[in-house]
C-alpha cells in the first residue's frame, strides 16, 4: 500500500518495503522462473498458493493502487474504448486498461502474465466475467472455486464439504500442474499456523478502536492494516512480523492516550465515532479521509476491512484442518454473508464500539456491495436508534467523486449527530 506522508510509523515503512519487494519479485519472475497466480481478495487462498511457491497477484489491489497513483482515469478510458460500458465495475476496466497499457504494475515495474487464474468466486458475479476477460487477454488457464453464498446465515457442512471437494479435485491438481510440485500438506499447515498468529494481532489492532479516543482509524487507516493479510503475505514470516510490530505500535498509542494518525497528523479531538459500510474511494482517498479528520470523525469499525475475511467473530485459520479451514475462510468473507448477517454485524459494531451511527459509502459501480445497502441502513438505524448517513462515490473512477456533494452530505450528517446528541437543543 501507499502510506501517506503523515503515516511514517515503523509498521508502515515495513509494509511499503514488503510490497515493493513483492512487486519487484514479480517483475523478475520471468528470469527466476517463478510462476504467478492471479486471484481475488475475498476468500483468497494465499497460503495454498504460496505452499506451491507460486506468487499471488491481485488485480483488485493493482486497480486500487493505480487509482491512488492517479492512473486509473486513463486505464478506464482505454477499457471504454475497447467497448466496456460506463456501468461496468471500474476495477475491471482499470485492470483491462492497465493490461493494454503494457501491464505496468503500481510501482512501475512490469507484471508477469498469469500462469493460472484462480477464480475464487465469493459473492460477486463480476469475478467470473472479469476472469473470463483475462482468460482471453492472457490465454491463461482458469481454476474455478465456487463458494456458495451463506444464504442461511451460517456455514453448512454441505457447503464446506463442497468447497473442500473442489479444492481437492480441481484447485490443488491445477496448482500442481502449474507449479510442477506436489501438494505439501505439512508446508501448508505451517503457513496456516503463521496466519493464525498474524490474525490474532490484527484482531487486537482492529478492536483497539473500542478505546476512547480510538488509537486507530479502522477504515482509512484500516485499509493499510489489512494490506498484508489480505494480499500476498498471509502465512509468511513477514506478515507475522508486521502484525506483531503493528500491534505494539497501537498498544503504545493506547498507553499514551493518543488518537489516530490522519493525513494531517495526529487527530487532536475525537468528536464523532462512526461505523462505515462500503469500500472507500481510492482516487481521492486522502481528500475523502480529510473530510472526516477535519471534523474529528473517526471510523471505529468498518465492514470493508472484512472483505478478505472476517476474523473478529472468532475465526482463525486452523492448521489442524487445513482444507476445511480454507473452505470456512472463503465461505465467511464479508461479501459472502447474507444481508441479515451483515445487519447483525453492523448493529454489533455500533453497540460494541460505542459509535454515534452508521455511514454508508455507496459505490456507483459495485453492485455487489451496493445491493441492499439502504435496507441495511434503515434496519441498523431502527435497531440501534442512532442516525445513519449516506454518501455516494466510486472505487477508482474519478468522475464519480464529487467533493462538494460528499462534503455537504458528510457535514450535514455530522451536524445531525450533534443535534441528536444535544437532544434538539443545538
Amino acid at each position: 500500500m501507499n502510506p501517506s506522508a503523515a503515516m511514517k510509523d515503523g509498521s508502515q515503512l515495513r509494509q511499503k518495503e514488503m510490497i515493493a519487494e513483492h512487486y519487484s519479485r514479480l517483475a523478475h519472475s520471468p528470469h527466476t522462473g517463478e510462476k504467478s497466480v492471479y486471484t481475488f481478495v475475498p476468500g483468497n487462498l494465499t497460503e495454498l498458493v504460496r505452499s506451491f511457491d507460486l506468487l499471488p497477484v491481485l488485480p483488485e489491489i493493482n486497480a486500487l493502487q493505480s487509482a491512488m497513483r492517479g492512473k486509473s482515469k486513463d486505464y478506464i478510458a482505454i477499457a471504454e474504448k475497447l467497448g466496456h460500458s460506463e456501468d461496468v465495475c471500474t476495477y475491471v476496466k482499470c485492470d483491462v486498461g492497465m493490461k493494454r497499457s503494457g501491464n505496468l504494475g503500481p510501482t512501475g515495474e512490469h507484471l508477469p502474465d498469469p500462469d493460472l487464474l484462480l477464480l475464487s468466486y465469493t459473492g460477486c458475479f463480476t469475478f467470473m466475467k472479469w476472469f473470463e476477460l483475462l482468460k482471453e487477454e492472457y490465454k491463461a488457464p482458469v481454476a474455478m472455486l465456487h463458494v456458495p453464498y451463506q444464504a442461511e446465515g451460517r456455514i453448512t457442512t454441505a457447503a464446506r464439504d463442497y468447497v473442500v471437494r473442489q479444492l481437492k479435485e480441481s484447485v490443488i491438481p491445477k496448482l500442481e500442474q502449474v507449479s510442477g510440485r506436489k501438494y505439501d500438506e505439512d508446508k501448508l499447515k505451517e503457513m496456516l499456523a503463521r496466519s493464525s498468529r498474524a490474525e490474532d494481532d490484527l484482531v487486537h489492532v482492529l478492536e483497539s478502536a473500542k478505546h476512547r479516543p480510538s488509537p486507530i482509524d479502522a477504515y482509512f487507516g484500516g485499509v493499510y492494516y489489512i494490506g498484508p493479510i489480505f494480499t500476498a503475505f498471509r502465512g509468511t514470516e513477514e506478515a507475522v512480523g508486521y502484525y506483531r510490530a503493528l500491534r505494539s505500535e497501537v498498544d503504545e498509542r493506547i498507553a499514551m492516550g493518543k488518537g489516530p494518525v490522519t493525513p494531517d497528523g495526529e487527530m487532536e479531538r475525537e468528536r464523532f465515532r462512526l461505523v462505515v459500510e462500503g469500500p472507500p474511494n481510492w482516487t481521492s482517498f486522502r481528500q475523502f479521509w480529510k473530510m472526516f479528520a477535519d471534523e474529528g470523525a473517526v471510523v471505529v469499525a468498518s465492514t470493508y476491512t472484512k472483505v478478505g475475511g472476517v476474523y473478529d467473530n472468532g475465526f482463525r485459520h486452523d492448521p489442524e484442518r487445513p482444507l476445511e479451514t480454507l473452505a470456512e475462510y472463503c465461505l465467511g468473507c464479508y461479501t459472502n454473508l447474507n444481508l441479515p448477517t451483515r445487519v447483525d454485524m453492523l448493529c454489533r459494531y455500533v453497540e460494541e464500539y460505542g459509535a454515534d451511527g452508521l455511514l454508508v459509502n455507496s459505490i456507483k459501480s459495485c453492485n455487489s456491495f451496493s445491493a441492499g445497502q439502504l435496507m441495511m441502513l434503515r434496519e441498523v438505524e431502527r435497531r440501534t436508534g442512532r442516525p445513519a448517513g449516506f454518501v455516494e462515490s466510486d472505487l477508482v473512477d474519478p468522475r464519480y467523486f464529487s467533493a462538494a456533494n460528499i462534503k455537504n452530505r458528510l457535514e450535514s450528517y455530522f451536524q445531525m449527530i450533534e443535534q441528536k446528541r444535544a437532544g434538539g437543543a443545538a
Binding site: E381, A388, N405, G424, A425
Partner: protein, 434 residues
Amino acid sequence: MKAYVGIDLGSTTTKAVVLDDAGATLGRGITNSRSNYALACEVALGEALIAARFGLLDRELAAAGMPEAERSRRLAALGLRFRGRQYLAQLEVFRRIAARIVAHDLLARGVAPVVDGMLDRMAGEARTLFAEGASRKSDFFRDLAGSRFLQLAEEVSRDGAAAFDRLVGVFDKAILEVENTPSGAEDFGTHARAASADLEDAPDALRRAVEAVASVPLQVASSVGTGYGRQTLPFPKEQIRSEILCHGLGAHAMFPGTRTVLDIGGQDTKAIQVDDRGIVTSFQMNDRCAAGCGRYLGYIADEMNLGLHELGPMACNSSRPVRINSTCTVFAGAELRERLSLGEKREDILAGLHRAIILRAMSLLARSGGVANEFTFTGGVAKNPAAVDALRGLIRENYGEVAMNISPDSIYTGALGAALFAWRDARRGEEAAA
C-alpha cells in the same frame, strides 16, 4: 434590542431572517447573490434589518392603539416611499461612479452630460415608480435601474446625443461597482423620516413611531449561516450549519406538524425527515448530477426561449402529458427538440418534463424513508404550479392522502432555520452562563 440572524447564501439569491428575543420573525431580506458573497450577505442582512424595523413600527403603532387595517395600509404606503428613497440614494451612488468611469475614459467623456441628464430623469420618475399600485418587475436595483437606463439610452441615441453601445458600456461597468458598494440602505432613520415627510397624510403617531424605532439600537446577538456558499461566509465554523438541518428546522417552524420536507433548489434536491422538534433524523440528496433539480428547468426554459416562471403555467395547460423518462440535463434540449419534431405540443412536453423531475424527487423521498405524515415542499421549484401538481399527484398515488404545505415565504425556509439555530445557540449560551 437583541436580534438573531440567519443567512442563507444560495447560488442565485441570498436571504436573511431576523428574529427577536422571543424567537419570533421580525424581518426578512433578499438580494441576488452576485459574485461577491460577503456583500450579498451584507445587503440581505441590511434589508432584513430594515424589515425588522418595519416590524417594530407595526408593534409601536399597535401599542399606540392604531387598528390593524390602518396599520397595514399606512406601513405599506410608508414602505413604498421608503423604497423610493432607497432607490434615489442608490441612483446617487450610481451617478458618482458613472461620473468617475466617464472621466477616466477619453472616448466617453462626451457622454457625461448625457448620462447625467438620464439619471436626472430617472430620479424624477422615482415617485411614480414607487407610487401605490405601480408595477415593478423586480425590486432589485440592478433590474429596476437597468431596464429604465437602457430605454433612455435607446431614446437619446436615436436623437444622436450619444452612441447606444457606449452608454450601455458605462452602465455595465458602473452597476458592478454599485452592487459592490454598500448603499447605506440600512440607514433606516434617514430614509424613514424622508419617507414619512413624503406622505402628505402621515399622522403624528406614525412620525412618532418612526422616531422611536429609529433610535432603537438593533444589536445582532448571534448569527448562523447556511446555504450553497456557506463556507465563504465570514463566520466561525460553529456558526455555519448545513442547509439540510436549516431546512428541516425552518419547515418545522412554519408547519410544526411536518415530518417530511422536500426541497428542490437550483443546484440540488433534498428529501429530509424531521422529528416533532424539527430535528433531522434522515436525509437523502441527489448525487453529483443536476438531473431533477431546478437547474434542469432552467435549461428547458433557455431552450424554449421562455422565462423560468412561464414554464409551469404553460405546462398546466396540458391535456395529454407526454411520458418522459430521462431527466438528463445535458440531453434535455435534444429530448425536447425531438418531441417537438414528432409533433407533440409544447405544453404536453413540458408537463412530461415536470413530472420527470418530480419522479426523481420521489425516488429520493422513498430512499429517505418515505412520506408518512404532513409534508412540506420548499425551494424555488415549489413556486412552479406544474411541479406542485405533479408532486401532489405522485404523493397521493404512493402514500395516500397526506397534508402538503407550501408557504408563500418558502424561499426563507433555510434562513429561518439558521436564525432559529442562532437564537437557540444564544439561549444555550445564556443558560450555560447562568
